[in-house]
């Protein structure tokens, strides 16, 4: 390292500018992609979303001859092809938590808030960048999964097409649902400011609540079940009407509502709390 010479503090290039939301979005874009862990996690989500449905379709076709008539009747070619969301949601949700909790655990939130002391633009910037990146990666992944799976399902002529009722909504809905899952993780990470706590909160809301709900008296449980985050949000991928769950868009709206409430609480605390 060279340490000699007179330092030229105000060197050749002037440092002028001001904080703008667009600038903060660029900054968050740089932060997201400059971490190897982020790139790997997103790659896992893409492979899961695009690949798992294809594998399940192939397995189903190879076992088709041994399946019961009832199983064949209830076979859902869309569910099978989009099955990868089950793993993708975990990768995206955890990454959503990490996008902000990682700044607290490493202390880089100090530099971040020193640059943007009003703080809220940071939260909006992270949310915007992460939701758009997630959606833009998950949408093509979902289409790849869908078309490749349908091609495999032609073996036994049980495929469907994008033009069939509700199918396009389900495929696009998978990407939408995953983008909002990412935002839910981000809101929880911003609230808890701790990676382990944020991931625990995310898992608790999404996967533990249904288990607890199942222990309630059936009449309560059945009434609550459609409103649990996971069942509400995943309704957008439903093909056949299900009386035990909310309608696709109503369910998705409920899930967005939960996320918005947690996000608003995170925003309020972000400007109130000391760093």
């Amino acid at each position: 390292m060279s340490t000699t010479g007179v330092p030229a503090f105000s060197a050749a290039h002037p440092a002028t500018g001001r904080v703008t939301q667009l600038g903060v979005v660029r900054s968050e874009w740089t932060k997201l992609w400059s971490l190897r862990s982020t790139r790997w996690t997103l790659l896992v989500a893409v492979i899961a979303m695009a690949g798992i449905g294809i594998i399940i379709s192939a397995v189903q076709m190879s076992h088709w001859s041994q399946m019961s008539a009832g199983d064949r009747a209830s076979f859902n070619p869309v569910d099978v092809s989009l099955g990868g969301w089950n793993l993708a949601q975990l990768a995206i949700g955890v990454l959503g938590v990490l996008v902000i909790s990682g700044e607290y655990s490493t202390g880089s939130i100090l530099s971040t808030f020193a640059a943007v002391p009003r703080r809220l633009p940071v939260l909006w910037g992270k949310a915007g960048v992460f939701a758009v990146v997630t959606f833009c990666l998950m949408l093509p992944s979902a289409f790849v999964a869908f078309f490749a799976s349908q091609a495999i399902l032609t073996d036994h002529h049980v495929q469907t097409s994008l033009g069939a009722p509700n199918v396009a909504r389900a495929v696009i809905g998978a990407a939408l649902f995953l983008a909002v899952i990412g935002l839910l993780g981000l809101a929880l990470g911003a609230l808890v400011r701790n990676t382990a706590g944020g991931i625990a909160a995310f898992a608790g809301l999404m996967y533990v609540l249904p288990g607890l709900n199942a222990l309630l008296p059936a009449s309560w449980g059945n009434a609550i079940s459609p409103y649990l985050p996971l069942s509400a949000g995943s309704a957008i991928m439903a093909i056949r009407p299900d009386p035990s769950s909310l309608s696709p868009w109503a369910g998705f709206a409920v899930f967005c509502g939960y996320t918005a409430v947690l996000g608003a609480l995170a925003a309020y605390l972000l400007i109130r709390r000391d760093t």
Partner: protein, 314 residues
């Protein structure tokens, strides 16, 4: 120009800062000294709005830090040098900061060159030494070409060459008319680097003084004299405000209340032979500890705060 008015910061029961008032002027290096846990880092966090004061105000160039349209252009801060995501390169870290303000990419390269990190600019900072972290933190502070610099222990972890580099850098920044506010618990380092000192202990302002005055106060008034004629000299020096004590041998006197010159003149006028005439200099480190210890004793248990730097609580 940093203006601190009646700043008080409580963390729960603990009082980290208690009604502190001072200002930091441009064009000079202002050293901010105090023992560990005195509240230095807490005050610096208030300056850049990371924490909010419980009462009082802290402004930079006339307004609260968060009310500036381009905060990085007003204040460059180094608080915790290693508080950077270890998986990111120095370039990515600085670029992300620059982009918030629309600062050009070329400026990032400028500051990397200023701090001498060119060779490791694209390496993950998780592999950095403490000294490299300090340099990266200073690069981040210089990024916005700020009028004010707030640096918490910038020479921490640097080798002697690095410490000299920091000293030259800070003096150069001040000479350009910037406000330079730098904390340290090494009094001797501050005595060389700084022009002005803010001393705090246990969250209280203890001194707001020029380094020259501090050094003058720190110099003890005691003159050590060795003479074969101690009793005659004692008589010759007798005056109001002068005390003469014995130290060590019978021929050694410790005179307070007179300068070495005055003692020499008195001896010369009375034809008293002197073997030694030494103004005794207390070290700055001793003077500093004496000053902060007094503050602690004066406060007694009223403040009762052992609170360490706030970073430790997270």
């Amino acid at each position: 120009m940093i203006d601190v008015r009646g700043a008080t910061k409580r963390y729960g029961e603990k009082v980290a800062l208690d009604d502190v008032t001072f200002s930091v002027q441009p064009g000079i290096v202002t050293g901010f000294v105090g023992p560990n846990g005195a509240g230095k880092s807490t005050l610096m966090r208030l300056v850049i709005g990371l924490d909010a004061p419980s009462s009082g105000t802290v402004t930079v160039n006339g307004r609260a830090y968060r009310d500036h349209a381009a905060p990085l252009h007003e204040v460059g801060a180094l608080l915790e040098a290693s508080a950077i995501h270890p998986g990111r390169s120095a370039v990515s870290h600085l670029l992300a900061l620059a982009q918030t303000h629309g600062i050009a990419r070329a400026r990032v390269d400028d500051v990397i060159d200023i701090v001498g990190l060119r060779d490791v600019a694209n390496r993950r900072v998780g592999t950095f030494s403490l000294g490299m972290f300090q340099r990266l933190g200073i690069a981040a502070a210089l990024l916005g070409d700020p009028a004010t610099l707030v640096l918490d222990e910038p020479s921490n972890g640097l080798d002697p060459e690095g410490i000299l580099w920091i000293r030259t850098l800070l003096k150069g920044l001040a000479a350009e008319g910037r406000t330079v506010f730098v904390s340290s618990h090494h009094m001797s380092e501050m005595a060389i680097t700084a022009d002005h000192l803010i001393v705090i202990g246990r969250g209280h302002l203890i001194a707001d003084t020029s380094v020259a005055d501090f050094v003058r106060q720190a110099s003890s008034k005691i003159v050590r004299v060795r003479t074969p004629d101690a009793s005659r000299l004692t008589t010759a020096l007798a005056a109001d405000g002068v005390s003469v004590g014995h130290d060590g041998g019978i021929d050694v006197l410790e005179v307070s209340g007179l300068s070495a010159e005055q003692v020499g003149q008195a001896a010369f006028a009375n034809q008293i032979l002197l073997y030694e005439l030494t103004p005794e200099q207390a070290s700055l480190e001793e003077a500093f500890m004496h000053m902060t210890r007094e503050a602690v004793e004066f406060q007694g248990s009223a403040a009762g705060s052992d609170r360490a730097e706030p970073g430790a609580s997270q």
